[in-house]
């Protein structure tokens, strides 16, 4: 499941429909998502030198595209 596209913002965890997330999108260019976009749970995120992996306990694992 793709955790980068969904109902919630992967950066701030708020609803995508609630306000402007342009700044969040900009930050996500330089950091991995911290919130699941499907349920806005905080994810466990492992960053490695050339990739990252984010895991939501409900919606599974996403890696960098």
């Amino acid at each position: 499941m793709n955790a980068l596209v969904g109902t919630y913002c992967g950066h701030c965890g708020r609803a995508e429909a609630a306000g402007d997330h342009d700044a969040c999108a900009e930050r996500l260019r330089m950091e991995p998502p911290r919130f699941c976009t499907h349920c806005h749970r905080r994810m466990t995120v492992q960053v490695t030198p050339t990739s990252w992996t984010a895991r939501c306990v409900e919606h599974g694992t996403t890696t960098n595209p």
């Binding site: 330089m30 492992q46 960053v47 030198p49």
Partner: protein, 346 residues
């Protein structure tokens, strides 16, 4: 005298010309670091003199360190949940940061080392968000370092917080050749940054590491609201410690931390800081670390490499992302700066 220095004499402010002239004779020609008063004078030079200052710092780097650039990758073996309250850090368990705690297993640690080596890096640093290592972490390190050394041709460094003498000895036995423990801030500013441990405790760990035979990597973070005087104080304190490497971080304000709303450092100020640190530490590895992408951008990154920097962290950081390694390697090739080979660091 170089063309750049000559231009400064024509255009720079008189006080800028004075300190650059002193630095040229003292640091470039004789290899004697600037003292705190002199570093402060460099940090107070005008934007008009910045090009000349960076040019001089580059000459110093080339003369006393050479053209090679040391490339390193880093990974977090234990993320988040740290009991300390470093106000810049998203991994402190004391703030409402979105970073959650997790451990990296050994197969993934080895994979990260392989990723790093594939970029051409000679150094792989394993970092943990802890006050100091407990037995669980030391065991994980012992097994992880052995697994890396069996699989990957790369130097292994570590950053595990404050150490006891027994832990220093254990790390030496594991074959850790460089240990990172940052001062982070000047002694006079440190209580504004951290309250759960002291600057002196950090210094003590650094001294133990240096005495152990491991190389000492000790850096800092600038742009946390310190004064220029405190930045000069910090450079002088690092000079007194004489680390083998100084990683220079620029604050990347993290959501939920006490410094989360601070502005980014001005790029000209960041470049002046790089040059001043080079003049304070003429023979030290001066490494670009976190925050450079945001603070300096592509152009500033290039200018810093031509202004005293001679090492980079390639790829991602501990919790944030860096530039594509290919971009940095292409930039180094464009600047005709060879990557330091593994054989020359052994």
């Amino acid at each position: 005298m170089s063309t750049v220095a000559h231009e400064t004499e024509q255009t720079g402010a008189p006080e800028d010309r004075d300190i650059l002239s002193v630095a040229r004779e003292q640091v470039l020609e004789r290899g004697v670091p600037l003292n705190e008063t002199q570093i402060l004078a460099v940090m107070r030079t005008s934007d008009e003199s910045l090009t000349a200052l960076l040019g001089l710092a580059h000459e110093v780097r080339m003369k006393w360190c050479g053209p090679e650039v040391e490339v390193e990758g880093i990974v977090s073996i234990k993320t988040g949940g740290c009991p300390e309250d470093c106000h810049f850090c998203s991994q402190s368990g004391q703030f409402t940061s979105p970073v959650r705690s997790l451990w990296l297993n050994i197969p993934e640690l080895v994979k990260a080392a392989e990723q790093t080596a594939a970029t051409g890096a000679t150094e792989f640093c394993i970092v943990a968000a802890v006050r100091g290592p407990d037995e669980r972490l030391m065991t994980q390190m012992r097994e992880g370092v052995a697994a890396i050394k069996a699989a990957v041709d790369i130097e292994v460094a570590a950053s595990l917080g404050m150490l006891s003498q027994a832990q220093v000895d254990d790390l030496v036995d594991m074959g850790i050749h460089r240990y990172n423990h940052n001062l982070e801030a000047a002694r006079s500013f440190f209580p504004k940054v951290v309250t759960t441990h002291t600057w002196e405790e950090r210094w003590e760990t650094c001294e133990m590491v240096r005495a152990s035979g491991m190389e000492l990597c000790c850096g800092c973070l600038v742009g946390m609201g310190e004064t220029v005087e405190q930045r000069a104080e910090l450079a002088a304190q690092l000079g007194a410690l004489q680390p083998d490497e100084v990683p220079l971080n620029f604050l990347n304000p993290r959501p939920g931390t006490p410094f989360g709303d601070l502005p980014l450092m001005e790029s000209s100020e960041a470049l002046r800081t790089i040059a001043a640190f080079r003049l304070a530490l003429p023979r030290t590895i001066l490494r670009y670390a976190g925050g450079r992408e945001l603070t300096l951008g592509d152009l500033g990154t290039r200018e810093g490499l031509l202004g005293g920097i001679n090492a980079v962290i390639v790829g991602n950081y501990l919790t944030t992302l860096g530039r594509d390694p290919e971009e940095d390697l292409a930039l180094l090739a464009d600047l005709k700066m060879p990557i330091k080979a593994l054989s020359s660091s052994l």
